[in-house]
């Protein structure tokens, strides 16, 4: 290449660079709208954030304007502070993080207006009706921990547990299965929205089944598999279910997958004594016990229970599987004496006609959030699964009052969790992306009204459109998980494990026997 040619190329490159910079500057510059033509309706946007109550500490709610145009102008304003303005040739509205956070923090409890203007082909500006949101007074917990996996049936490839900083778009890996040769990991559980106590269930052909226990900065590997886990608020013990799960499929239903617990019971692990125990009421013969959940004061353990009518507990599929319905029970517990009280029925499937599952109590102890679906033990596979709220402080009339939430869709809602201040819930829903479960956030006011759910925002508003993974079991936590990645991976791979003896009082398994698991067992 001659010198002359090099100079020409350099010059051309500089011109292109300058043009790019100028275009960007022009796009960022203020636009003159003049007299826009009122459209008389709100703009079509995706994700649908219109009319939601939003956390004051949430990342920018970037969205896509589904209106034809050559230039887009969005003004986000509230009572106080400088409005945030976005001018772009793309219908993707990417809101700058700094100004967004400043605006939200100054306007807790106030309305947030989104004025959308679109310049059409003829060069005229069209003004759409203002979209409004309400900024909540109360913040949401800063982090959301969830599992990502493709909608697996029996086999899987990559999966992991990740934490998302809800104030930004940062996502970090807590543990994925590349650390232990594509095993399975699930059932992450935290103590009272903190991350100093964490349990993750692991299954691996190579490294065996175990539960990874994080206590402050130390990590241990317990040589037994924890199912659905709940921490006692003291952080001294964790109750969990042990499930013998069978999978089957549907010939003509939208959701092909289904599962059934052929046998299950609830046990608890004491961190002090390193022992697994259970109570006769948590492991009754002839009953399936699952989904344990502690009350915030630690005095009650709530769990779900259904009767077993099939003799062969390994045969798939039990007859009348579609009639298995779980009751919601609770049992009192005294941690100081390690004694269990009497069993109470909180909600009977006989009364509801539905299967009651996944109880979670708000940290203030007032609300019990749970799922109900037509049958079975796995709401995320049941299209009929909806979220219900029960007021535990309401005057007791012998029956707990509950109601179906307005946020439900005609698809499955499940896997819910509370924020530490009891004002926010995170849950999984299939309402917008079918089999690809996504995580949503909803505000709960003091009266227990639950507001329009907000899809967990992503930097790219079209992110979820082509995302082939499910985001499920969203757990809100106040702080990031500190022990992660290879630190956890090393413990998973380690042969040094805490060996536990299984108690002899359990329902089905023999003493000392490791409970069996179907290979697919997982949470989606």
């Amino acid at each position: 290449m001659t010198k002359r040619r090099r100079y020409i190329l350099l010059f051309a490159g500089l011109i292109i660079l300058a043009a790019c910079v100028l275009t960007q500057l022009a796009a960022g510059a203020k636009v003159t709208i003049g007299q826009p033509r009122p459209v008389g309706r709100p703009p079509r946007i995706r994700p649908d954030y219109q009319g939601a109550v939003i956390p004051p500490n949430i990342a920018p709610l970037n969205f896509l304007i589904q209106e034809e145009g050559s230039l887009y102008y969005v003004k986000i304003s509230s009572k106080q502070g400088k409005p945030v303005e976005v001018v772009t040739e793309s219908p993707k509205i990417l809101i700058p993080e700094g100004p967004w956070h400043r605006l939200l923090s100054m306007n807790r409890g106030a309305q947030l207006a989104f004025d959308v203007f679109v310049k059409d082909k003829n060069g005229r500006w069209n003004a759409f009706s203002t979209l409004t949101n309400t900024v909540a007074q109360e913040s949401i917990d800063n982090y959301l921990v969830y599992r990502k996996i493709h909608p697996a049936h029996g086999v899987w490839n990559d999966m992991g547990i990740y934490q998302r900083n809800l104030q930004t778009f940062d996502e970090t890996t807590i543990l994925d299965n590349s650390y232990f040769k594509r095993g399975c990991l699930n059932c992450h559980a935290f103590c009272s929205n903190r991350t100093d106590r964490m349990l993750i269930g692991i299954r691996s052909k190579k490294y065996g089944s175990s539960a990874i226990l994080t206590k402050d900065e130390t990590v241990a590997n317990i040589r037994t598999k924890f199912g659905y886990t709940t921490w006692h608020p003291s952080g001294r013990l964790a109750a969990y279910s042990i499930n013998y799960v069978g999978q089957f499929f549907h010939s003509a239903r939208d959701e092909v997958r289904d599962v059934i617990d052929l046998d299950s019971f609830v046990a608890y692990y004491s961190l002090d004594s390193r022992q697994v125990k259970t109570s006769p009421d948590l492991a009754r013969k002839g009953r399936l016990e699952t989904y344990p959940a502690w009350s915030p004061d630690g005095r009650y353990l709530y769990f779900c229970s259904a009767s077993i009518w099939w003799a062969d507990r390994k045969k798939m599929i039990p007859r009348n599987y579609h009639q298995i319905k779980y009751d919601l029970l609770r049992i009192s517990y005294d941690i100081n004496t390690d004694t269990w009280g009497t069993l109470e029925t909180v909600l009977s499937a006989h009364d509801t006609g539905l299967s009651v599952l996944e109880p979670r109590i708000s940290p203030d102890g007032r609300w019990l959030l749970f799922c109900m679906c037509s049958y079975g033990c796995f709401p995320v596979y049941q299209q009929t699964s909806d979220l219900y709220l029960m007021n535990l402080h309401a005057e007791q009339t012998g029956q707990y009052e509950y109601r179906r939430l307005d946020i439900n869709s005609d698809q499955s809602e499940s896997w819910h969790s509370w924020s530490s201040n009891s004002r926010w819930i995170a849950f999984s829903s299939k309402k917008d992306y079918g089999v690809f479960t996504r995580s949503y956030l909803s505000y709960v006011d003091a009266e227990g009204k639950v507001y329009k759910p907000l899809l967990m925002p992503q930097k790219d508003p079209e992110f979820y459109d082509a995302c082939l993974e499910t985001y499920s079991v969203p757990e809100l936590v106040t702080e990031p998980v500190k022990v992660q990645g290879e630190k956890l991976g090393r413990v998973v791979r380690s042969w040094r494990k805490i060996t536990v003896e299984m108690p002899i009082t359990m329902a089905t398994p023999e003493a000392g026997e490791e409970p069996g698991y179907e290979p697919w067992q997982q949470r989606e």
Binding site: H150, G154, G434, E486
Partner: protein
């Protein structure tokens, strides 16, 4: 270094011409014989073939671990294997660069006689392709390492400090880009420093860096597992090793990795031990290679005189010399390829490739290369149905009751091979199940995403279909197909898509009555499909074929009335043969629903009986004669459990 490569390319025109010829043949062989489209397709045997999606989100995940960037680039380049000529070009380019690096390496360490070994890496690469395996990322990581070694060698003239700096800079680059392949870079550099440049301290530092850099970079910076930190992209990585069918070919890939260091090590050791006055390379006082002293000629026999005359004539005739050496090279390479290629595996890939594209005549043409493979027979059966030959020619091919649905235990996880049969039959949920499992085991291939989208559109689970279509929209070659469907779904709020024949066909056949199964006998599935739509011809022919293969003739006769639901002009011959055999054995008539058994079938049965009787009812003795004349009949299959034997 560029100049050095340029020199390599410009000097020695005879070498250049030989290389050019070699790589032209290499390209043509890959394009026309191996056919990279088959590797792209994977046939359920290549499970680690990468997918590629456009956009930042996809790229982002590759930035989180050492070697990720190279994997991203390889994922992009691998997509060109979809187009035969382009794929061959990519693979040839890789092989050529590997050859060039090897050549440069041997020249740089003053081993000119070994430069002919530059063809070894391309040949080893070719073996991996002829055996239909995919190691593009692993071998490209090797290429990056060797390229970096060449870059390093150009710094041998520099001062000690700069040598170390160059090594460290290259180390960070190689480790970030090529992950575990960095170990090779450090090893080759250490061998060079120890045996050729005689700088032991450098060698020691480089060997130490092979431990320190992966640990610091992989574990501390990228926070990957310690196993991945050292092995990602190496042939010993668990990500490769977990594929059972790759274990044999990994010897070749490992040989490819070990080739350069072993040659250097051996020749370096030889140099150290056998040449007592050997001087380190690039030393200012190093004497130049001594010219050969003419030795005193011994008086030889006539034979030795003749030999020396021939040799001198040979040395003085460069064209002849070039031709002989080139011929020798091509014969050697040809022999290696001839003995290493896997014709059966190719047939397996071809039948699956054509079946996935519904190219039925090609399926039937490729099948005889490996007629006893259950996978091939499974594809053949689909081809027979789709060409209208199933009730006529089923036993022209090898058959077993497990081939219809691949029901044998060893095929339980052959999801990639199974989903199309369920889509063909119209059992959308079964297809969705197999497709989802295949997505997990074979990757997010466009072929699977397309079928998942179709299945969900047919079920009207549009939210799910849209995600599959949007993901497809980010691929390189199927974006238009996906965009077209997304547009149709937008413009048709009822998602009816009346003009889409495939969707309408699926909706006509898919079951509507829901029930749980785990697992369900295929007979029930086929009967259920026929219950939904009695005119599901494929379900009917597969049902009848399964009865033929299992010998359940009573059930075949029970379902004979279903012939009326279709346009068969007469009872298909294989069913006639089953009826004749049944009537012969049970000695009772069968209700043919007003149809007749053809004279031809009766004659064949009589002939079969006659031949059998000729051998006195001795099954073994009659085998060959019956196989020759009736190897394609149900009579023969029923008697011997074999088929596809007619000459």
């Amino acid at each position: 270094m560029l100049n050095s490569f340029r020199t390599l390319l410009t000097q020695n025109p005879d070498r250049r011409l030989r290389s050019l010829l070699f790589f032209i043949l290499f390209y043509l062989y890959i394009w026309l014989e191996v056919d990279t489209r088959l590797i792209y397709h994977g046939a359920g045997a290549i499970s680690d073939f990468p997918v590629f999606f456009r956009g930042w989100t996809f790229f982002h995940r590759f930035t989180s671990y050492p070697g990720g960037i190279l994997e991203y680039l390889c994922a992009l380049l691998s997509q060109f294997l979809y187009i035969g000529w382009a794929g061959a070009l990519v693979l040839t380019l890789q092989a050529w660069l590997l050859s060039l690096c090897t050549d440069y390496l041997f020249k740089a360490v003053n081993l000119p006689r070994l430069r002919c070994l530059r063809f070894v890496p391309p040949v080893l690469l070719l073996i991996t392709y002829t055996r239909y395996t995919y190691h593009f990322a692993t071998t490209t990581a090797l290429l990056i390492s060797l390229l970096s070694v060449c870059l390093y060698l150009t710094a041998t003239q520099k001062a000690k400090l700069s040598r170390l700096i160059v090594f460290l800079v290259l180390s960070v680059f190689v480790y970030t880009i090529a992950g575990g392949a960095y170990l090779l870079f450090a090893l080759v550099c250490a061998i060079y420093e120890l045996l050729f440049a005689r700088r032991c301290w450098f060698a020691l530092v480089y060997l130490l860096s092979a431990i320190v850099i992966p640990y610091a970079g992989g574990v501390l910076v990228f926070d990957v597992s310690i196993i991945d930190a050292f092995t990602n992209l190496l042939p010993v990585s668990w990500k490769i090793f977990e594929y059972e069918n790759y274990k044999k070919i990994l010897i070749i890939v490992s040989a490819l990795y070990l080739f350069a260091p072993s040659v250097l090590l051996v020749s370096g050791l030889c140099r150290s031990f056998f040449i007592t006055h050997a001087q380190p390379l690039n030393q200012p006082n190093a004497p130049k290679a001594r010219p050969h002293k003419p030795t005193k000629k011994k008086r030889g026999s006539k034979f030795s005189r003749l030999r020396s005359r021939i040799l001198s004539w040979y040395s003085g005739a460069p064209i002849i010399k070039w031709s002989v050496e080139s011929c020798l090279l091509f014969v050697l390479v040809g022999a290696v390829i001839f003995f290493s290629r896997d014709i059966k595996k190719k047939a397996l890939f071809e039948t699956d490739f054509y079946a996935a594209r519904r190219m039925w005549p090609q399926v039937l043409a490729a099948a005889p290369k490996h007629p006893n493979s259950y996978y091939i027979v499974h594809a053949v059966n689909r081809a027979l149905y789709h060409t209208g030959r199933m009730p006529y020619d089923l036993f022209r091919f090898y058959q077993s009751p497990d081939t219809l649905f691949l029901t044998a235990a060893e095929h339980r996880e052959s999801y990639f091979k199974k989903f199309d049969i369920f889509l063909d039959l119209g059992h959308v949920n079964m297809a969705e199940h197999e497709l989802t499992e295949s997505l997990a085991t074979d990757g997010r291939r466009p072929l699977i995403l397309k079928r998942l989208a179709l299945a969900n559109i047919a079920k009207r689970t549009i939210h799910t279909a849209r995600v599959h279509l949007s993901a497809l929209g980010k691929t390189l070659f199927d974006a238009d197909w996906a965009t077209d469907y997304l547009q149709q779904l937008r413009s048709d709020p009822t998602f009816t898509l009346p003009a889409d024949h495939e969707i309408q066909r699926l909706r006509r056949y898919m079951p509507v009555q829901d029930y749980g199964f785990s697992p369900m006998p295929f007979e029930h599935i086929l009967l259920d499909l026929l219950k939904k739509n009695a005119r599901n011809r494929m379900a009917f022919e597969y049902l009848m074929s399964s009865y033929l293969l299992t010998g359940e003739l009573g059930k075949l006769i029970q379902n004979l009335h279903r012939l009326d639901d279709f346009d068969y002009t007469q009872i298909p011959p294989l069913y006639e043969q089953a009826l004749l055999l049944y009537m012969h054995k049970e000695k009772k008539p069968v209700d043919l629903h007003g149809r007749q058994i053809s004279q031809l079938s009766r004659q064949r049965f009589e002939n079969f009986k006659k031949v059998y009787a000729f051998y006195g009812g001795n099954k073994e003795a009659a085998f060959q004669s019956l196989a020759n004349a009736h190897g394609d009949t149900f009579f023969f299959y029923s008697t011997y459990g074999l088929s596809g034997l007619k000459k």
